[in-house]
Structure formats: structure tokens, C-alpha cells
Symmetry: C2
Subunit: 492 residues, 2 copies
């Protein structure tokens, strides 16, 4: 059975490794509906843990959850000129509201009499329906700010889909806030970017670069898009979250004005921000190896698994009893523990299975261990094992959670650092981009140059980073002045 789960190695075919891992580790699978996935219980549990932490962080920063309709009238999408260009094209369109029995007796057909007067679009994002609602909620400065988040499913009719990374339907949260001033909205957009970075680094153990998108990569309808960019093990970038300063664009499109303290009418300032099940893809690709998933302890559904080794029922009972004792202590310390007592599977099969599933720590114990008072402790991140005294092992395991969390972050950080480099000429760029990683380059700030680079090399500007070197220079393509280096990479 262990053989069946064997993964293609990353070196052989990274893309195939990813696709196999998602399915074999029971995270998700393709459904019967093109581009839509089934998120399986093990994958969904990780997503729930992400939701739980993010939701707590949103509430701690003053946000409340609400729920807005799934369907958006077609005309709403057209109100904001750039927004419709970005979102109204590849989307699921509801045109009818009834089926009827097929007169020829086989199944059902769409009832032509039940055609909607105006088509409805399954939300690709909810700015339009939400700002149409906010119009009725906002009259005075006393009604501001509005700080709302929504957990929802959205749909974008992608042509090429991959589990978690790009699916027609995906799950996400979208924050939509309304403010009296430009300054307040800008601060909100940056605050939420910081929340995302904090979450990525401290829970997902993924180092991210915070920055601002170039105009070509900006959200359709935004004035500025802030983002966190992560780097995957194959050297490709992945946008892990975005926070948009929307200016007054949606307020103007939906005529949302408020009376300020001086009794003057003003348009409202807006932000929106979101992360999605795409984060699952980032999590998988950042840490996992050829044996399977590597999960950060802060998000692992099972943090410790215990595998008893025995030759007979008597040994089994004794070892499991000792495990129960240890598990009680670990659970008291807040860890999630699973004792795999299944007699139908061999220890070797279980070892491979929990490695595949990314359980951070595995404990194994046999009759001899019991005699000697020892236990085997296996770390998923380093694939190392150590035999140590049972006495006091719980403290060691608790500390390992923290150690593993830090180690996988550091490993990802070191990897990113090792493939982040300055490139100064376009010729060099064309060679270097093939090797992957983040390339720090001077760019003249024009969409035309960015477009040319993209067409010729498939690389885009991932962001103009907030931190780091701000020395001006000259564009590697045009030789025109550049304010600072920006990050180029190929991306997911």
C-alpha cells in the first residue's frame, strides 16, 4: 500500500508532484463540474484552522462579519468602468429560474418561459453588490467607518484550473470597508496587509514580501493594490493576499455620499481585501517534500501521532496504555493528538501515511521501549528520529512544536534569500529568469516596459517592495530613470 502513495519527486516534475500530493494527502480533488474542486475533510480542516485565526485577527482589528447575495445583477458590474473590464468577462451567468419536464419524457430542460429580465452573475467578487447596499447604510459621518468582512464562495470561469491554485469556484474572505477620509482608508488597507503578513509568517510559516502592485497588476477598480508575495520551492512567486485602496471609485459608481461634520456632502472612501483557498496551495508548495506534506504545527489538524509497535495483544495493550497517559498530558498542553491503534495496518504503512499527511511529530513505542523507558520521536520537517527517555518527553514534544514552526519558516526564508538577487541588464535578466527566484531590477515605471518584459520572458512585477534598498537607478530595458528596484518573477 505504501507504494501506491509514492509521489513523483519535485526534481522530476514539480507540477506533477503538487497535483499528486494534493490528491494523495486527501486535501482536495476535481469534481464532476469543470474547474470546481471538492475540498476533502483533511484539507478542509486545515482551511478551517486558517479561517479561525484570520477571523480572530479581523475581529481584533474591529471588523464584523456579514453576508451579501451570491448573485449580482449584470448591470451592477458595469457601473465601475475598470471593474467590468477585469471581472465581467469570464463568469457564470444565470439566465433562467426554472426547469421543466422534457416533453419527450427524458429528464428536464430549461423552461424558456422562465427567462430572467436581467441576467444574474455569480459573484466573482462583491464590491458592486456591497456598495449598492452601503448606499442605504451611509448618510452621515456618524455612520462611518463600516468595517465588514464576508466569508463566501466566489466564481471566476478560469480556463486552466489547478486544485487550490486556480479553480472556477473558490472559498475566500473579502473585507469591504467604508471611511470618511482618504487617510483612514489608506491606513485600513495597510493594516489589513499587515494582518495578512502576520498570518502568513506566524501561522503558515511562509515569509512574504510586502509591497504595492504596479498598475498592470492592480485590482480592477482599485487606486492602489497592496500585496504579500511568497516564493515557492520551484522558484515561482505566488500572490498570497491583496488589500486594495479603492479611493472613491465605488462610492462614485454607486453614488455613496455622506454629510460630514461641516454639513457638506462627500464621497465615501473604500478598501477591500481578501485571501482565499489559494493559500492552501501556498502552504503545500512552500514546505512539503518528496515524502509528502510538511505542515506548520500552528495549522496541522493532527500535531502529534502515536504509533504503537507490538507483536501480540498484551504488548499492544501495554504500549497503548502508556500512549494514552502521554496523550492526556499533551492534550492538556493544548496539542491535538491521535493514537493510531488500527490493527489492520502495519507500523511502516502508518509511518508513510503520516509523513504524507504532514503530521509534525510522530511518536513510536514498542515493548522493548516500554521496558527501557524510552520512546522514538520523529520530526517530519527534518525527517530525523531520536530515541529518548519517556520521562519528560511531553515537554520536549511541546517545545518541538515551536521549534518546527520556526525551522520551516527559517528554511523557507533562507531558500528565498538564496534565490533573490539583483539583476542589472536585460540580457542577464533573460538568463536569470529561467532559473527562477525573485529578481531585483530597475524598471522605468511604465506599463509598456512591464508589458514588453512579460511578453518576452513571462515574468511580471510581483511588487514594488516597501522594505529594502531604495537607491534609484536606470531601467534595465530602456535605460530611463528608476526610483527603486522592484521584484520580478514568474508566478502562479
Amino acid at each position: 500500500m505504501a507504494e501506491l502513495k509514492q509521489l513523483t519527486s519535485r526534481a522530476t516534475n514539480y507540477s506533477q508532484w503538487y497535483n499528486e500530493l494534493v490528491v494523495k494527502a486527501d486535501l482536495a480533488e476535481q469534481s464532476a463540474v469543470r474547474g470546481c474542486m471538492v475540498i476533502k475533510p483533511y484539507g478542509y480542516t486545515i482551511w478551517e484552522k486558517m479561517q479561525h485565526e484570520l477571523d480572530r485577527m479581523f475581529k481584533e482589528t474591529g471588523h464584523q462579519n456579514a453576508y451579501f447575495p451570491l448573485l449580482i445583477p449584470k448591470s451592477f458590474l458595469c457601473r465601475e468602468a475598470e471593474h467590468v473590464e477585469g471581472f465581467a468577462k469570464e463568469c457564470a451567468v444565470v439566465t433562467h429560474y426554472r426547469l421543466k419536464n422534457d416533453p419527450d419524457g427524458s429528464g428536464v430542460i430549461v423552461d424558456p418561459d422562465a427567462k430572467l429580465e436581467e441576467e444574474l452573475i455569480i459573484r466573482p467578487t462583491s464590491e458592486t453588490i456591497i456598495w449598492n447596499t452601503y448606499k442605504n447604510w451611509i448618510q452621515s459621518y456618524r455612520d462611518l467607518p463600516i468595517l465588514i468582512n464576508q466569508w463566501a464562495n466566489v466564481m471566476r470561469w478560469e480556463m486552466r484550473t489547478r486544485l487550490f491554485l486556480r479553480t472556477a469556484e473558490f472559498l475566500w474572505q473579502e473585507g469591504h470597508t467604508a471611511h470618511a477620509t482618504e487617510q483612514e482608508a489608506l491606513e485600513e488597507a495597510q493594516r489589513m496587509l499587515n494582518v495578512y503578513a502576520d498570518f502568513a509568517e506566524n501561522f503558515m510559516a511562509i515569509p512574504v514580501v510586502k509591497g504595492v502592485k504596479s498598475p498592470n497588476e492592480r485590482f480592477a477598480g482599485a487606486v492602489e493594490t497592496f500585496c504579500i508575495e511568497a516564493l515557492m520551492q520551484d522558484g515561482k512567486a505566488l500572490q498570497a493576499g491583496t488589500s486594495h485602496f479603492l479611493g472613491q471609485n465605488f462610492a462614485k459608481a454607486f453614488d455613496v455620499q455622506y454629510v460630514d461634520k461641516d454639513n457638506k456632502l462627500q464621497y465615501v472612501w473604500a478598501t477591500s481585501w481578501g485571501v482565499s483557498t489559494r493559500l492552501m496551495g501556498a502552504l503545500i508548495m512552500t514546505h512539503s517534500d518528496d515524502n509528502g506534506l510538511v505542515l506548520p504545527p500552528n495549522l496541522a489538524p493532527i500535531q502529534v501521532v502515536m504509533v504503537p509497535i507490538y507483536k501480540n495483544d498484551e504488548q499492544r495493550t501495554a504500549v497503548v496504555a502508556k500512549f494514552e497517559e502521554l496523550a492526556a498530558k499533551l492534550r492538556k498542553a493544548g496539542l491535538s493528538v491521535n493514537i493510531d491503534n488500527n490493527d489492520a495496518k502495519k507500523p511502516g504503512w502508518k509511518f508513510a501515511e503520516y509523513e504524507l499527511k504532514g503530521v509534525p511529530v510522530r511518536l513510536a513505542m514498542g515493548a522493548r521501549d516500554l521496558e527501557n523507558g524510552t520512546i522514538e520521536v520523529f520530526r517530519r520537517d527534518t525527517l530525523t528520529k531520536e530515541t529518548m527517555p519517556i520521562e519528560g518527553v511531553e515537554q520536549h514534544v511541546v517545545e518541538l512544536m515551536d521549534a518546527i514552526q520556526k525551522n520551516i519558516y527559517q528554511k523557507a526564508y533562507d531558500f528565498r534569500k538564496s534565490v533573490t538577487r539583483e539583476v542589472n541588464s536585460y540580457d542577464e535578466f533573460k538568463v536569470e529568469i529561467e532559473k527562477g527566484g525573485f529578481l531585483l531590477c530597475h524598471w522605468d515605471g511604465t506599463p509598456e516596459t512591464e508589458e514588453k518584459i512579460k511578453n518576452e520572458t513571462k515574468a511580471t512585477i510581483r511588487c514594488i517592495p516597501f522594505d529594502g534598498d531604495k537607491t534609484p537607478g536606470t531601467c534595465m530595458v530602456t535605460g530611463k530613470p528608476s526610483k527603486q528596484r522592484v521584484i520580478f518573477a514568474r508566478s502562479y
Copy 2:
């Protein structure tokens, strides 16, 4: 301002009272999309609390969450003959996957070239897509049981909609389980019915009758539908949750078989069970009064509100400081507390507002109270207030939570009891049904008699109750034998 929030009384127009209350208490409102609601933050917070408790109960009974696609291929709905009759008619149909710019330059139109080969239906319920998935998950008895729940939005194109009670889109959870034996599936369906009853009674403070539906009221595709039925203050019944024993219907429709221990192929047994945002309607209508919402402490977003009364800043500071001290103690005891320190609103306005919002306990304190060491404690459920020593008030408030939770349950229980009565003739039935309540009547067990009663009186069989009198009798309409009394009522 307080006047603006004045509700129509229940006696004047119960239906209008409900509609106004939902909007004025900031629970939900109509959206721009016909039949779809916006759930506002205050309403959504109550729903989140419901979700939190239910999710915990599902997990404690061994279930895991997962996520299945929003869209269902039209042909899937037709696989189960009764299911398609019940669900495939009034539903949202996706026919296209792209919009394009209108050649005449105004907005976007549906791109006729982007017509789907097979139409997709927005899920009205997910049995079909889930059983199509389970087919690949189940080979052997070792793969069973599968115990999965999904939190999701669903859509049924209802013609007449009311906030929470009947909306085109609503939020719900749907459990879908697969079992090796009939007995196990039946037990599961009953277990989840008990979970629902436990939740309704202990968290929502709503007494419910557990029973089984008559064939006319059964879920389309089920062998048996178990339900919990609640009674609203206007004497109408509301189905608060259903749990279905699906037999092998969906396993046969989607060809889901497993190899049993004797190496024989068997069809899998199934259940499904769900509750929805409709529960919000039940919660509102069971307890609330002409002053607004009455919320059970176990689900109230704010359990205690503190309103300072003062004539100057000095008094305000002193009172608020005392409140802060008390709030810290109450929060430590696990209560959610809000100190309304807003200087722009008068205490009278705040009193009306928190009554409208159903906050279980309100504490008010002024300068004189501070001198005397007293505080005013107001109970939302009884609308009574009491001045008592501040010393030790936190213990009293903690106990009030329990007292209020029990009192509103008892009040609803007593009301239901007072309008539940035996009716023995159809003539009497026609008179009594106009008065509302649960009517316990003998029925001959045929769909025809039930249909006749429904057509003539608008009453349906809410359930054949599990508990209570099982004495046989004769049908009030046909005089044929009846096994036991069943519950008739008009319903939401």
C-alpha cells in the same frame, strides 16, 4: 429617534411586526436581487453563534466538514426520480460562462458563443453532487461510515419570500453520511435529530416536538424524514430542522456499492440532515415582543449592556470607571459585556435601542447610585427592573443568564402547551384551526385525506410525534382506523 424604531404590535399585525423587527433590529434586509437577503452584522453574529454550537455538536458526534461544488450538472438532478420532482423545478440555471462588450457600446451582454453544453444548477441541496463524489470514495466496508457535514449557501427560486423564513438564497449546513447497514443509517438520522432538538431547546430556548413526517411532507428522495417542529407566537408551526433516512435511493441512483466483509457487493445506506438561517426566523418569532427582540443569553451577541447616567463629565467618568470594574469581573465569568459610553445619545434612547436588540440584561447606574452603592438591573425577558447593591451584583447577573434562558424556554413551552389540544371531529377541526396552535387528531394515514384537509383548511400534518399518547382511534375525516394522533397545524 426612539419613535422611529416603534414596532407595529404583534396583536395589530403579526406578520408586519416580524418584518419590521428583522429590519429595525439590524438583523437582515432585502437586497437588490429578488428574494436574496443581506444578513447584517448583528444578525450574522447570532448566526455565527448558532454555527459555533452546532459545529461543535457535529464534531462531538464524529463528523468532519468538507466542501462540495456550488454548481450541479442538470443531469445529476434527474438521477433520483423523486428528487428531481422536488428540487429541479424552481432553481437558478447557469447557461453561459462569459459576457462580452455590447457592440452598441452600452455595457455588457451574454456572449452567445459561451453557451454551456450542459446547464449547471445552483445547488438547492447537495445529495446528487455528493453521492456522485462518494462513488469514488467507497469501495469496501472499511471506507464506511463517511460522516461529513458542509456549511454552504443554497438556492431555491421561491416566488414569495420573507427574510430568514423563505429566501431564494439561504445559508445552511447539510450533513451527508454513508453507512454499511440500514440500522446504522437509521440510528445516524435519529442521532442528528436529537442533536437538533438539543440545540433548539438548550441554546435557542425553543421547545420542539420530535417526530416523523407523513409521506406528503417527506424530503424528495427520502425513505423517512424526521423533524423537529416548533410553534410560533401566532399559533403557526415552523419546521426547525429535518434529518432524512435516505435508504439506498441515492446509492442506487449513483451506483455506490461496497464490498462487505463476506466479499459481497452491497448498496450503501445514506442519511442527510440540515438546518438553515430559517432558524433565525424561529428564534425571533418564538421569544420577541412588541418592544423588540428577546434573545436567549446562550446566543445573544451582547449579554449585558451598561448604560451610564450622568449630568456632567465628572459623574460620567466616575460611573464608567465603576462599570469598567464590574465589566472586567463579568467578562472573566465568560459574559460578553458592552459599556455604552456614547455621549451623543440619551439614556432613554439607549434603553429602547437595547430592548429592540434583545440584550438580556441592562445595567444602569447614576451618580446617586454610586453614592448609595446601588445599581439598576433590567431583565429584557420580563421587562422588570430592580435596584440592588452593587456589591455582589456580578454573581446575580451571572445567575440571571441562566434564569432568563430557562424562563423564556418555559414561557414558550407553556404557550405551546396552552394551544395544543385534541380535536375529534372535522367540523370542530375547521373551527379550531382558525385559532392556531397544534391540533392532535386521528388521521387514517393516507395521502388523500391529508391532501383534502390541506386543500380545505390550509393545515398540514407537522409530524407524527415520537412521544405522547399512542392510543389508536378513528380518522376525524374518513372514520377509518388511525394508529395514533398526529399534529396538524398551519405553518410557515
